[in-house]
C-alpha cells in the first residue's frame, strides 16, 4: 500500500520465513483487464456508470466537494488564468484580466532587460548550489543516524536536528542577520583567529555561501525523515545474506542500504528539481539589500519589486509566468527521465 511503509517492515520477513507469504508478489502479475474489472466491480452493469447515476447515489459526497473546489477555482485556477495580463495591458483598478491585448510586448521587454538576465542567472546558480548541497546531505546524515547504536542518543540527536524546520522563515533570517553581523558570532571567530571582521551582508561575494549554509541548517535534519523511514523497511535478511557472502559494513551499506533507499532518493530528487526555480523567495526577500543585489537578487524578488513595489503588473506577470513555466517543464522532464530509467516516478 505505501511506498515507504514503516511499521509493516518487521513482521514480513518472519512470515516469509514461515512460508506464509510468498517470496515475490509482483503486483503487475494480475492481468490488467481483471484488475480493472475488480475495481469497477461495485458498479455492476455499465448503465449505472453515468454521471446521472453518480449524482443520484453520491450527491452528498459531491456537496462536500463544493467548497474545496470553489477554493481551488478562485485561489488557484483564477490566478493561473490571470497570467493573461502578461499579454494584456493591466492598469490598477481595471479587470483582473487586463484591458487590451499587447501581444508579446512584455515578453520582448524582459528578454531585452539586462537586469532580468542577471536575476535569471542568479536564480539558476542559487538553485543549482542549493540542490547540489541540500539534496545529498540528508542522505549522508540519515546513514550516520542509522549507524548509531544507542537509541536514546539517536532520538535526542534527531529531535535536535528537526528543530530548525519548525522555525518561521523570519526567525531564521533574524538569526542569519545576527550571526553574520559585525559583532556576531562569525566575526567573533574571525577576529579571535586574528582576521579582520567583515560586514558579510554587504558583500555580494558572500551571499550565496550564507544563503546555502542557512538552507543546510534549516532543511538537512528534517530531510532525513523519509530516508530513515525507508531504511526501516529494508529486509534484515538482505543484510544477513550479504554477511554470509562476506560483505563488510561498507559493502553492506553500498550494496544493501543504498539500493534500499534509492526509490526515495529518486522521488525526492524529482521534487527538488521541480521546485529549484522557486528557491527560497521569502528568505532572499528577508535577507537581501541593494548592496548585494548583484548576487542575491533572484527572479522572484525582481518580480516582487517590479510588480508590487513599482506597480508594473503586466511586466512582472510576464516574468513570473516565464519562471513558473520553466518550473513546470523541469518537473515534467525530471519525472519523465526517472520513469524511463527506473520506473520510480511521481506519477
Amino acid at each position: 500500500m505505501s511506498a515507504i511503509g514503516v511499521t509493516e517492515g518487521s513482521s514480513q520477513p518472519a512470515l516469509r520465513e514461515a512460508g506464509v507469504v510468498p517470496e515475490f508478489k509482483d503486483p503487475n502479475s494480475t492481468p490488467k483487464k481483471k484488475r480493472r474489472a475488480d475495481r469497477k466491480g461495485y458498479a455492476g452493469t455499465n448503465n449505472t456508470n453515468t454521471w446521472k447515476h453518480a449524482f443520484k447515489t453520491d450527491w452528498r459526497l459531491y456537496t462536500l466537494l463544493i467548497l474545496p473546489l470553489l477554493f481551488l477555482l478562485v485561489f488557484r485556477y483564477l490566478p493561473m488564468a490571470g497570467n493573461v495580463i502578461a499579454f494584456r495591458r493591466f492598469r490598477p483598478g481595471s479587470s483582473i484580466f487586463g484591458d487590451e491585448w499587447v501581444g508579446m510586448h512584455y515578453i520582448e521587454m524582459f528578454i531585452q532587460d539586462p537586469t532580468f538576465w542577471r536575476v535569471f542567472w542568479n536564480t539558476i546558480i542559487l538553485g543549482v548550489l542549493t540542490l547540489a548541497i541540500c539534496f545529498p546531505l540528508p542522505i549522508v546524515l540519515a546513514l550516520m543516524f542509522n549507524e548509531l547504536r544507542s537509541n536514546k542518543f539517536k532520538r535526542i540527536a534527531q529531535s535536535i536536528s528537526y528543530l530548525p524546520h519548525f522555525m518561521s522563515i523570519v526567525i531564521v533570517a533574524g538569526m542569519v542577520l545576527q550571526l553574520t553581523s559585525v559583532n556576531g558570532t562569525i566575526n567573533q571567530l574571525i577576529s579571535s583567529l586574528g582576521g579582520e571582521s567583515m560586514p558579510f551582508m554587504q558583500l555580494p561575494e558572500w551571499f550565496r555561501t550564507i544563503y546555502v549554509t542557512s538552507e543546510v541548517w534549516q532543511t538537512v535534519g528534517w530531510g532525513t525523515i523519509l530516508y530513515l523511514a525507508a531504511l526501516t523497511t529494508i529486509d534484515p535478511q538482505l543484510y544477513e545474506a550479504a554477511r554470509i557472502d562476506g560483505a563488510n559494513r561498507w559493502k553492506q551499506m553500498w550494496h544493501v542500504t543504498i539500493p534500499g533507499i534509492t526509490p526515495t532518493m529518486i522521488v525526492l530528487l524529482i521534487l527538488n528539481v521541480g521546485t529549484f526555480m522557486a528557491v527560497g523567495f521569502e528568505k532572499v526577500l528577508l535577507l537581501y539589500n541593494p548592496l548585494i543585489y548583484e548576487t542575491a537578487d533572484i527572479i522572484a524578488t525582481y518580480v516582487y519589486r517590479v510588480g508590487i513595489t513599482s506597480s508594473n503588473f503586466s511586466y512582472a506577470a510576464a516574468i513570473g509566468l516565464f519562471e513558473a513555466l520553466i518550473g513546470l517543464v523541469l518537473i515534467l522532464s525530471a519525472n519523465g527521465i526517472a520513469r524511463k530509467l527506473g520506473g520510480n516516478s511521481l506519477w
Binding site: 511506498a3 459526497l61 462536500l64 466537494l65 540527536a157 550571526l179 551582508m201 541548517w217 559494513r249 528577508l286
Partner: protein, 316 residues
C-alpha cells in the same frame, strides 16, 4: 541451519564460544575500522547537534545580555551583563501584544477554515467509487507544481477587496495539497465495514463523516491541525503583502520590520522599520517570544509531524 557470522561491532564477538570461529578473523579486522568509524560518527553527530542548536542558544544569550557587551561582540553562548530589562521593554510595547494577538486570531481562524475544507475534500476523495475522483485529485495535485504566481494572486486579492482584512491571510492558503493527500490516504484505510454498518443504521454521508469517521480519526486530525497551525503561525508574507496598517500585522511582520530596520535598508517597501538601529537584544527577545509557543509545543509537534510525514509518503 546455516550459522550466520556475527554482525561486526556486536557483543557476540566477545562470546568465548564463538571466539574461535574461522570467520571471526576477518570480522575482527573489519570491526576495528568500523569501530573507529563509529567513534568518528558519534562525534560528528554531536558536532552537528551543537551547530544546529547554537543559533538558538545565541539568541537566548543575547536576550539576557546588555547592549554594550553585544555591540562589543562578546556575547555568544553565555549572557554577559545579565538583565531582564529588554524583556520589559519589548513586553511594554502595546503594538507587540496587539500583533501577537493578531497572530493567534489569524492562526485559529485560518486553521479552522483549512480543516473544514481539507476534511470535506479528503473524505470525498477517499471514496474510490466516486465518479470523477481522479479528475478532482488531478485538479488539486496540479496546483502543487504550477501556480498563478505572485502578481496574478496580488491582483486578484486586491480586486476581491481583501486588502487590510483578515480574509487575505486566512483564505488564499486554506488547502495545502500535501495535507490533503495525507488525510485522503488516512481515510482510504478507514474501516469500510464500520461505515457500511453506520449506513445501515440510517446515518447519511454527513452523519458518517461527523459522528463516525472524525471521532475515530483524532490522531490524524491532531496532526493536520498542528501542520496548519504551525504554518499559519510562522507565515508572514501574505500579511506583509496585503496588510498595511500596523495594528493588523501578525507578530512575524512586526519582527520583520524590526530586522529590516536593523539592517538599515528599507528597500523592501511596506511600512518597514523607522530606519533607526534596533538593538540586537530587542531583536533577540522578540524572536524568542515569537517562537516560544512552537518551542513549548515542540515535543508534540515533532511526534505528530513525523507521523504525518510518514502517512504522507504514501504515494499520491
Amino acid at each position: 541451519m546455516v550459522t550466520i557470522p556475527a554482525e561486526p561491532g556486536t557483543t557476540i564477538e566477545k562470546d568465548p564460544r564463538l571466539g574461535s570461529r574461522p570467520t571471526q578473523t576477518i570480522k575482527i579486522k573489519d570491526s576495528r575500522s568500523y569501530s573507529a568509524f563509529r567513534v568518528f560518527n558519534g562525534i560528528a553527530i554531536i558536532v552537528i547537534c551543537a551547530v544546529t542548536l547554537y543559533p538558538f542558544l545565541n539568541i537566548i544569550a543575547q536576550s539576557f545580555s546588555s547592549e554594550g557587551y553585544i555591540n562589543a561582540g562578546q556575547v555568544n553562548l553565555i549572557p554577559r551583563g545579565f538583565n531582564v530589562t529588554t524583556f520589559e521593554v519589548v513586553m511594554s510595547d502595546s503594538m507587540f501584544w496587539r500583533n501577537y494577538a493578531n497572530t493567534v486570531i489569524y492562526t485559529v481562524v485560518a486553521t479552522a477554515i483549512a480543516m473544514v475544507l481539507t476534511t470535506c475534500f479528503a473524505y470525498a476523495l477517499s471514496k474510490r467509487h466516486l465518479k470523477g475522483r481522479s479528475f478532482f485529485i488531478g485538479l488539486a495535485v496540479f496546483t502543487m507544481f504550477f501556480n498563478g504566481g505572485l502578481i496574478p494572486n496580488y491582483v486578484l486579492i486586491n480586486a476581491m477587496g481583501f486588502t487590510n482584512t483578515i480574509w487575505a491571510i486566512v483564505l488564499p492558503n486554506a488547502i495545502s495539497v500535501f495535507n490533503l493527500l495525507v488525510m485522503k490516504a488516512f481515510f482510504e484505510n478507514f474501516s469500510q465495514e464500520l461505515e457500511e454498518a453506520a449506513e445501515i443504521d440510517g446515518l447519511t454521508t454527513y452523519g458518517i463523516l461527523w459522528r463516525i469517521v472524525i471521532p475515530l480519526s483524532k490522531a490524524v486530525m491532531a496532526t493536520m491541525i498542528l501542520f496548519y497551525a504551525v504554518s499559519f503561525w510562522n507565515a508572514w508574507f501574505q500579511a506583509f503583502l496585503y496588510l498595511d496598517r500596523r495594528e493588523l500585522y501578525p507578530v512575524t511582520v512586526y519582527l520583520r520590520n524590526l530586522l529590516a530596520g536593523a539592517t538599515g535598508t528599507e528597500q523592501m517597501g511596506g511600512a518597514a522599520g523607522e530606519g533607526t538601529q534596533i538593538a540586537s537584544n530587542v531583536q533577540s527577545v522578540t524572536m524568542l517570544l515569537t517562537t516560544l509557543p512552537i518551542i513549548c509545543l515542540y515535543p508534540f509537534l515533532q511526534k505528530y509531524f513525523v507521523r504525518g510525514i510518514m502517512l504522507g509518503s504514501v504515494k499520491a
